[in-house]
């Protein structure tokens, strides 16, 4: 399969990239890892007249932590960099859990987190993770930079809030205010398939009390679902079997799954509930069920929950 005909530019600076995008308008597309865009172009679901390849832009392949604990992920940071990241393993258990579950190892060599957010596929894993963590995207355009909270960035299935002449150059994860625990679990028919169901959960606690909680769902609706009520239900009290069960019920109620070849709506909703219980029970120090990737860290300490890399439902 061939994409339809397009002009290709590989600028060397962000300013040059933005002016190319300005010239191309609605017909221009940014190419980073290309692991979603190139297949879309081959299937002719996308037929941009101009491709602006940002792979030659310098200084965007980083992921790093600021002094205050904010984590920044550059537009050319590949999934494999995050999968192997010591920073994430020690500081950011939710992202560390998700990184090895993105697509397959070969796709992870090229695909990027920021590109995945821009692609805004309802079955994309990173959008759920960044939603659960309350992250944002930094866009760079002719008028300078602006920060867009992830809830506003993903505007619908395969739609984002970027103007045609803006580039998403960075994802930002705010620092946890207390102890951060949580994880990401994904049910997939085989490695590399789209998620049947994915759940990201992030819980911050101060002492025994939950101070912030984010739960987001992959693949069970027309776009990434933020299960806001489920998160709210956990706040202001200790994490207990009862509060976890309540949050799991609310998350399952927030899901909008459809019956398809990956499973019935009822089954998917059930799996949302199961995954919330599993992640939060682990976060609470009570392992529930086998498998899964969860962990917990306290700021300034090393990981106390070692991530294992067994994806639910994969051989």
């Amino acid at each position: 399969m061939y994409p339809s005909r397009f002009r290709y530019e590989a600028p060397r600076s962000i300013a040059e990239a933005i002016s190319l995008l300005r010239e191309g308008g609605d017909e221009a597309k940014v190419l980073a890892g290309g692991q979603s865009l190139v297949p879309l172009m081959k299937l002719r679901f996308a037929s941009p007249a101009l491709i602006v390849d940002i792979n030659n832009l310098p200084g965007l392949s980083y992921h790093q932590e600021d002094a205050d604990g904010t984590i920044r992920i550059g537009a050319l940071c590949r999934h494999v960099d995050l999968e192997r990241s010591v920073l994430l393993k020690t500081k950011q258990p939710v992202m560390a859990a998700a990184a090895p579950l993105i697509a397959d190892p070969i796709v992870r060599n090229r695909g990027t987190l920021v590109g995945s957010l821009c692609h805004a596929d309802p079955q994309g894993d990173w959008a759920s993770v960044v939603t659960a963590l309350g992250g944002s995207v930094i866009a760079s355009g002719p008028g300078g930079r602006r920060s867009i909270p992830i809830a506003d960035f993903v505007t619908g299935p395969f739609e984002n809030a970027l103007a045609p002449d803006e580039i998403a150059i960075e994802a930002v994860i705010p620092p946890p205010k207390g102890t951060l625990t949580g994880g990401y679990l994904k049910l997939e028919r085989r490695i590399g398939d789209f998620a049947t169901v994915g759940v990201a959960a992030a819980v911050e606690t101060s002492g025994d009390t939950v101070t912030r909680a984010g739960i987001a769902l992959t693949g069970v609706g027309g776009s990434t679902i933020s299960a806001t009520e489920a998160g709210q239900a956990l706040i202001g009290k200790p994490l207990t079997a009862e509060s976890i069960a309540q949050a799991a019920d609310l998350a399952a109620a927030a899901a909008r799954p459809r019956t398809d070849h990956r499973g019935s709506a009822e089954y998917k909703r059930h799996m949302v509930r199961t995954f919330v219980v599993r992640i939060l029970s682990r976060a609470n120090g009570h392992p529930a069920g086998a498998g899964g990737v969860v962990g917990g860290v306290t700021p300034g300490q090393s990981a106390n929950g070692e991530a294992n890399t067994t994806a639910e439902g994969t051989a």
Binding site: R5, Y8, I51, D104, R110
Partner: protein
């Protein structure tokens, strides 16, 4: 080297975008003129005539088209040829020497790691990258590294054995 493009009939020949790229393939320096929509797999198979790289699903699933770009495995059906500019590409043809098989090829032969052989070039290139990073992989490491490559014949058992055989052989020869 000639690549023939489809003529839609509505453009002057000069208006068809063509980029000139410089890259290496299996250590040999090359310059090519490519239309940007040409995929890396097309450049390798049609432009360079290296048909060892197979096109399986053409949808980023199966991994049969896996090649190494600067040593890292990439699905060549999901990268534009024009993006190879300035990079080093390795295909299955680059594995063996003049007369000797690469230990991975020898391993697939010894352990019966293929039946129809369609997925084999992609398996070998993914495995080559694994062994370069981890010369002493466990069975699980091998299964993990090859989880982006599909085989419909073998059930994977002998492919994993083949890679472990190659790892042992490479360790022996390194001593």
């Amino acid at each position: 080297m000639t690549i023939v493009y489809e003529d839609r009939g509505d453009e002057a020949a000069d208006d068809v975008p063509v980029n000139r790229i410089r890259f290496t393939i299996n250590g040999q320096k090359k310059i090519a003129e490519v239309e940007p929509r040409l995929l890396l797999s097309h450049l390798i198979r049609r432009g360079l005539g290296l048909t060892g790289t197979h096109m399986g699903c053409d949808t980023t699933n199966c991994g049969a088209c896996t090649v190494l770009v600067d040593g890292q495995p990439v699905k060549s059906c999901t990268m534009l040829a024009v993006q190879a500019d300035g990079h080093a590409i390795e295909t299955v043809e680059g594995l063996s020497g003049q007369s000797e098989l690469h230990p991975l090829q020898e391993g697939f032969k010894q352990e019966h790691g293929l039946q129809c052989g369609f997925c084999t070039p992609g398996m070998m290139m993914a495995a080559k990258s694994l062994l370069a990073e981890n010369p002493d992989p466990s069975e699980e490491d091998v299964r993990w590294a090859l989880s982006g490559n599909l085989c419909r014949c073998t059930g994977y058992q002998n492919i994993v054995k083949s890679v472990l055989w190659a790892a042992d052989k490479l360790k022996e020869s390194a001593q």
